[in-house]
Amino acid sequence: MSARTAMLADIRSNLAKSAPFEALYHHLQPSTRLQKPSVSNVSSTDLADQFATELSAVGGEVYRSSNEEQAIDLITGTLGEIGAKRVAISDMSLRESKAFEGIDLIQDPSREELFAVDAGISTAQLAIAETGTLVLRSSMETHRLVSLVPPVHICVLNTANIKLSMSDVLEELSSKIDPTITFITGPSRTSDIELTLAIGVHGPKRLIVILID
């Protein structure tokens, strides 16, 4: 008998031994589903404001722009401010933009390059306003490591893609689930030593989000 067969048989025989769970927990209802407030009556500006407030509260930095050119200006400004010399960029469409000309961006970085760069630039495909969370889908953002390995992560997000809640985002993702979906809420953190907060333990020390309205 294979381990699979044996384990399933064990589960079935133990379930059969038990008195009905429902008899003991009489108030059991078939999966209560929570009703979340609808997104329709919240404007994308309000959602962007809420997103920025929540992300700032957990140590992220948020800058607003009204088009791609402005966004790239903000990115180059940030790269200058942190003195970034080597920068990795994910396969986002923005990387073809003329405004990036003159900056030496590493496309499709190798592992060695990734560990040596000063910053990584990616996009986020969705976001959650309630928690200030970025959502990266591997079907559209195939470079999982650009947002993770470099000490600074710069992420570009269209405000139109900000949803109110986790429920709304999961609903949207569930129609076609990517091989990897990454939720990011602020920079990497730990409280493992005396519950004292330390930033940037394994992932980026800084998370900078450039919003495009």
């Binding site: 064990d10 589960i11 379930l15 929570l34 591997s138 493992d192």
Partner: protein, 492 residues
């Protein structure tokens, strides 16, 4: 601390209470996490409805666990993952070791996983010449120290910054005066070299989704993302109880878990992994192996009370809220899972005989039940296990074991019952008590039974060592009442 076992909970607990360093750390834990949790759950519109929803989703999964497991395995494999089935710890370790050996590596990076602690995977890997490197900061600290986790969420909570600085100075050569930021930076630097080399990464799983074959892992540090995206091979070790039916069920659990665990609205990262990458250009592992582990879990399905244990999402809230855990810390429990949930899981996983003190390591105050995000009735479970210890049950945890306080205790309580049920016998007993109590009464109280009496009746000594009872009054209220009536009721 290593020698502590569940059999000696009483002795371990006493030592822990006398340890001022540990007491400071535990106080910090209770206030910090307790306060943060309260603030975080206040941001949820209807916390009680969320708990009820989570509880009922878990009940649904556990009631048809066989079907949900098959669905999960089929869907994960359809997406490119390989599923392995492990009946017990030994089988799970063998599967992981074989996978690592086939890939010809001598070092693996690991992210934090209570299940790998439970099956003692690190020791098994080391015995085969494979170096497991824990990458969660807290886990790495205790690995350097050669200790075990004392908390489900913050494994090194029992150590002070000074102790950790001392440890790092000795093991990795940092300054003895190093602060938290410097210690953290050192861990980052050293572990990055390991990440850069590693070709196999081992992780745990927080939730598995039956309908899609996805797994979700939560974290704050980024080491889970590194472990699951840098190496060519990702091995995820998962308890069979971790399943949720639907992808969208994650919403309520992601609302409950971080708030209950660390008091965060959401941890810094969640990774949802569904099979392997679909195109060559994608970064990430080529292979995903999911090891499904039973190791005593299916046995818990056999009774509706014990089945609740499998709903646990390992948030640690019951530890932080428990007056016993707050006083003795995690190591006193002498087991992988400490605190109230540990006191119910350990006896079921390791056998009542080994851990029969643990169901009594509780005042049954109910704080654990109140904070549990999935509404596990831990006091009910503790009482259920206590009953099994004294009575034994046909299908229960104790079915094949010789535990129990035996005939003596049962007889004593039968006798006690028979005297308390009949007024005549009760009054007779009071008379005897009045006549003999001067042997044990000091300052109007029945103090600890010691000396001769304790040596002829040892359970009495154990019972009275920590409990005072008022002495039996020279005259009962009923006797007083009768006497006063006779006197015409006007003496006072």
């Amino acid at each position: 601390m290593q020698a502590q076992t569940a059999e000696n909970f009483d002795k371990n607990a006493r030592a822990a209470i006398d340890d001022p360093v540990l007491q400071g750390a535990l106080q910090n834990l209770a206030t910090t996490f307790g306060t943060r949790r309260k603030a975080a759950i206040a941001t949820v519109p209807d916390w009680e409805a969320s708990r009820e929803s989570a509880r009922s989703i878990k009940a649904e999964v556990l009631g048809q666990l066989d079907e949900y497991l098959v669905a999960f395995a089929d869907n994960a494999e359809a997406n490119g993952a390989r599923i392995h089935w492990a009946r017990d710890a030994k089988e799970a370790c063998s599967i992981v070791i074989a996978l690592v050996k086939e890939r010809g590596v001598e070092m693996v990076v690991k992210s934090k996983s209570m299940l790998t602690e439970e099956i003692h995977l690190n020791a098994a890997l080391e015995a085969e010449g494979i170096e497991p490197v824990e990458t969660d900061l807290g886990e790495w600290i205790i690995q350097l120290a050669g200790e075990t986790p004392s908390h489900i969420v913050v494994p090194a909570i029992h150590k002070t910054k000074a102790q950790i600085a001392e440890l790092f100075a000795e093991k990795v050569g940092t300054d003895r005066e190093a602060g938290v930021d410097e210690l953290t930076a050192t861990a980052r630097r050293i572990l990055r070299q390991k990440f850069a080399e590693a070709t196999v990464g081992i992780s745990g799983v927080n939730f598995g989704i039956a309908e899609s074959g996805s797994i979700l892992i939560l974290e704050n540090e980024g080491n889970v993302r590194l472990t699951t995206s840098l190496p060519k091979t990702h091995i995820a070790v998962m308890g069979i109880e971790k399943l949720l039916p639907r992808f969208t069920d994650l919403a309520v659990f992601l609302e409950l878990l971080p708030r209950s665990g660390t008091g965060q609205r959401l941890t810094a990262y969640q990774s949802i992994i569904t099979g392997t990458k679909k195109t060559e250009s994608n970064e990430g592992p080529d292979e995903l192996h999911i090891v499904l582990v039973d190791n005593g879990r299916s046995k818990m399905l056999a009774h509706p009370v014990t089945r609740q244990s499998l709903a646990c999402i390992r948030c640690g809230a019951c530890l932080n809220a428990c007056p016993v855990y707050q006083s003795v810390g995690g190591h006193a429990y002498g087991a992988v899972y400490p605190g109230p949930i540990g006191a119910v899981i350990t006896p079921q996983l390791e056998g009542l005989a080994k851990a029969k003190q643990l169901p009594y390591a509780s005042s049954l105050c109910g704080a654990c039940r109140e904070v549990c995000p999935v509404k596990i009735d831990i006091p009910e479970l503790l009482l259920h296990l206590r009953a099994e210890i004294t009575e034994g049950t046909a299908n229960g945890v104790a079915a094949d074991e010789k535990v129990g306080r035996g005939v003596g205790e049962r007889l004593a309580f039968k006798l006690y019952g028979s005297f308390w049920k009949t007024p005549g016998r009760y009054r007779f007993l009071l008379k005897i008590a009045r006549a003999t109590q001067r042997l044990v009464v000091r300052d109007g109280k029945v103090g600890s039974v010691s000396g001769l009496l304790a040596s002829v009746a040892p359970p009495l000594g154990a019972w009275t060592a920590w409990r005072d009872a008022p002495a039996v009054a020279p005259e009962s209220f009923r006797e007083l009442w009768k006497r006063e009536l006779k006197n015409g009721g006007n003496s006072q």
